[in-house]
């Protein structure tokens, strides 16, 4: 339709499909933002350790990659939303309710992904201090950081279940 009134403008922008895509954006963007900040923080700590002991590069690489998981989970959620909405194929005409549902389904991983990534980075940075003093205890450092990820996984589970079980 030709857009003549403001309400028509709103209705054209906020269709069900667009809301679902907005959800995909939120999932990918916030989780990715958190992961980027987190991996960057750990990278800075790792450079500090490597300036003293360059042989530890492999170990610091693993610790640096750990908080990157939340970004991946956000990506998966975004992919699934797009798959559900038919972006990678023929776009499905979702109702406003279904689009809103998919938007809300993206929120758990978006919010938890961001904050858990930041906190996981703090643990990973402490892990880098740990392996600076105790070279062979990388296992403990990784375990400590991986425990924080549990909650991101729960949030991913919730998001995925919500998306997968939507009857479209």
């Amino acid at each position: 339709m030709e857009i003549t009134t403001f309400s028509q403008f709103i209705t054209t922008i906020f269709t069900g499909y667009n809301l679902a895509i907005f959800g995909a954006f939120v999932a990918a963007a916030f989780a990715g933002w958190g992961s980027a900040k987190a991996v960057g923080m750990v990278g800075q700590a790792a450079s500090g350790l490597l300036s003293e002991d360059p042989t530890q590069f492999g170990k610091t690489l693993i610790l640096q990659a750990l908080p990157g998981t939340q970004g991946i989970y956000g990506l998966i959620t975004a992919f699934l939303i797009m798959a559900k909405a038919g972006t990678l194929g023929t776009p499905i005409d979702l109702t406003l309710a279904q689009g809103g549902y998919l938007f809300i389904a993206a929120l758990p991983i978006a919010v938890v992904g961001y904050f858990s990534a930041i906190h996981q980075a703090k643990v990973a940075c402490s892990g880098i201090s740990l392996i600076a003093k105790q070279k062979n205890e990388i296992g403990k450092a990784i375990t400590a950081a991986a425990l924080v990820e549990t909650y991101a996984i729960f949030a991913l589970l919730v998001s995925l279940l919500m998306i997968i079980f939507l009857k479209v």
Partner: protein, 663 residues
């Protein structure tokens, strides 16, 4: 496939100088020397050995600096494209004349570099002199002249717009004292003048001048810098001429320096040999710190792999002054760990080494881990041409480049995993992503459909997710199975089975439940098996407790571990994420590359964008794939059974950074 069995070598050598026996052990290349502890430690011994080590390390550093600096002057190939020097044991002798000469060359290099820096500093200074004297070229009075008996000579500069006559007139009107204001040159920066004032009363004149923007110029520091010969005049023009002559001399000297560097570069091979000799001797001194020296003997303790024992025996039996025993390690020994694997599996040891070596006597996971690493790598990278580039590139690097052993292992690893990527690429129909489809569609207008043998991951991400989870299930269950095996090796087979098998039953039940809801079959078998598994868990997981109520309670609480298993399983979704990411980016690259259509510009864009974009995509995804594949092995797989904390087996051996030992 296993951790090498180690034998403890306890050795007494009847010569108090430890150097000979350590040299002998170093050249056997299979003994990991450890500290021989004594009731009374002699700190002087260790300090002495450390001092000698530092001397050789210093030599090695100087040699290395020279080698790095002379790289560009070398005629033969060095660095990555260099060839190792074939040397014998005698060539790596630090007491030889050749070594002394080579260290001398490195000292010469350092001296030349220092002279180069001096020349540079001198040149800057001379240029500054010439620049500051430019306005004074026509001044015909020596710079160190301060005036005469009654007059004072001052040199300075007035603002550019000053009119000398006007200023002279103004000051003459205002002051009694005689003076002369003589312009020397007019530059864009200002008017350079010389002022002659009377010693008596000239201050008023200088004050007036200062009020008009006069700035006095001092040349005392410049004069102090110049080495004036006796009787030479310090006219600015003469100083400038002398400075220019000095600059020319410096330029000539610099050129001769370049020739001297080239002459030194001809000795680079000898310096490389000397470097290896110095580092080897430094390593020997480090080993010396670990042995025990008495007045007449040396006591050495070392670890030797079981398979190397014949070589050790052959090396030591011939020496009449050496007595030794070989024994099995005791309970509280910290035995170093060396992994033994088939050549095809050996590159994967670098992945295990990146985390932590297994404790001595436990399980070497390299072989089983290598299979999963290989498969998951393929799924994550999943492209035929990327895998081909990877494998071929790595094989070329191994053949042509001169790389160290550690890096070589990694390169071999990538070459092997490239094959996995090729296989998965064929399964998913990914040849630089969807390049065939895009090429045919945008350039030739033909639609060729899918090229996959199994499924197209971009169109069917949920199926890919399920496949990733399936890989995860197999991976986790294998890890648990290894736990049973390890328990069996310790003689606790029943314990191992009771720990793990109920979980297997429970998982199978959950799997059946999931399948029933997905495929619409009856959920009765799933419920039954899952229920049976849960009952098994409740009955068996608390068997360590004495109290029967605690037994049941602990069993019930063990069901909570399901949560951690689910979280492990979800972690495998990253396989789908990384696989899809590389596929989608490849598709975008293809879209850009084929945008131009079947035109000249279009084909130019194609030839430019496609290779560049795909190489960049490969490199970025290679790093992510390696790191996340490794992370899955370390956390989800090793977490089920691994005993870490092994110290690496590092045998005393000659350092061969630049040489290849031929005996």
């Amino acid at each position: 496939m296993s951790i090498s069995r180690m034998m403890k070598l306890s050795l007494v050598s009847a010569d108090s100088g430890a150097e000979d026996i350590i040299k002998k052990l170093t050249w056997l290349r299979c003994a990991h020397i450890t500290r021989t502890s004594a009731d009374e430690e002699n700190p002087d011994q260790a300090a002495d050995a450390e001092n000698r080590r530092l001397i050789y390390e210093r030599d090695a550093t100087a040699l290395n600096t020279a080698l790095m600096g002379l790289r560009n002057y070398r005629e033969d190939k060095a660095g990555l494209f260099g060839r190792p020097i074939k040397a014998t044991r005698a060539d790596l002798d630090v007491d030889s004349e050749r070594y002394g000469k080579a260290v001398g060359y490195s000292a010469d290099y350092a001296a030349l570099r220092a002279r180069e820096a001096e020349i540079s500093a001198e040149r800057t200074r001379l240029r500054q002199q010439i620049e500051s004297l430019k306005p004074w070229q026509n001044f015909d009075v020596s710079l160190d002249s301060r005036g005469t008996a009654l007059t004072e000579l001052t040199l300075g500069v007035l603002p550019p717009s000053s009119d000398i006559d006007v200023i002279s007139a103004e000051i003459a009107a205002g002051c009694d004292s005689e003076f002369a204001l003589l312009p020397v040159s007019r530059e864009p920066g200002g008017v350079y003048v010389s002022v002659i004032t009377m010693k008596d009363g000239g201050l008023a004149v200088t004050d007036e001048l200062t009020r008009r923007g006069f700035a006095k110029l001092e040349f005392s520091s410049l004069l102090a810098d110049i080495n004036t010969q006796d009787g030479e005049n310090n006219l600015p023009s003469l100083i400038t001429d002398r400075a220019k002559a000095a600059l020319e001399a410096l330029d000539e000297e610099e050129e001769s320096l370049s020739d001297k560097f080239k002459a030194l570069a001809a000795h680079c091979r000898e310096m490389e040999l000397a470097y290896d000799a110095a580092m080897t001797r430094a390593a020997e001194c480090a080993s010396e710190k670990l042995v025990l020296k008495t007045e007449k003997t040396t006591v050495v303790t070392a670890w030797v792999p079981y398979l190397a024992v014949p070589a050790v025996k052959a090396g030591l039996d011939s020496d009449p002054a050496v007595w030794y025993t070989l024994s099995d390690p005791s309970e509280d020994d910290n035995v170093p760990v060396k992994l033994l694997n088939q050549p095809a599996v050996k590159p994967f040891e670098s992945v295990v080494g990146l985390y932590s070596l297994p404790a001595y006597g436990s399980f070497d996971p390299t072989f089983i881990m290598s299979i999963f690493f290989f498969v998951i790598f393929g799924f994550m990278l999943g492209d035929v041409l990327y895998g081909l580039l990877l494998t071929v590139g790595c094989l070329i690097m191994l053949k042509l480049l001169n790389i160290s052993a550690g890096v070589k292992n990694l390169v071999k690893l990538f070459a092997i995993c490239g094959v996995s990527s090729i296989i998965c690429g064929v399964l998913f129909g990914s040849y630089f992503g969807d390049l065939p489809q895009q090429l045919m569609k945008n350039m030739f207008g033909a639609d060729i459909g899918g090229t996959h043998l199994w499924f197209d991951m971009v169109n069917d991400p949920i199926l890919f997710l399920i496949v990733s989870m399936a890989i995860g299930v197999i991976h986790i269950m294998t890890g648990m199975g290894i736990k049973i095996y390890m328990s069996a090796k310790e003689g606790r087979l029943l314990d191992g089975i009771l720990d793990v098998v109920p979980w297997y039953v429970f998982f199978v039940g959950l799997g059946l439940l999931g399948a029933s809801s997905a495929f619409g079959i009856s959920s009765a078998p799933g419920k039954a098996v899952a229920g049976a598994g849960a009952v098994f868990l409740i009955l068996t997981q608390g068997r360590g407790e004495k109290n029967p109520i605690m037994k049941v309670l602990k069993g019930v609480m063990s069901l909570y571990d399901t949560v951690s298993y689910i979280s492990d399983l979800l972690s495998y979704s990253r396989i789908m994420a990384l696989g899809l990411a590389s596929a989608v980016i490849a598709q975008v690259v293809n879209l850009f590359g084929t945008m131009g259509g079947n035109t000249v510009v279009g084909w130019l864009m194609f030839l430019l964008i496609i290779p560049l974009g795909h190489v960049v995509n490969l490199v970025i995804n290679l790093l992510g794939t390696f790191v996340h594949d490794s992370r899955l092995q370390y956390i989800e797989f090793f977490g089920k059974f691994y005993e870490d904390g092994g110290t690496p087996f590092v045998p005393a051996a000659p350092v061969t950074k630049y040489t290849e030992i031929t005996e």
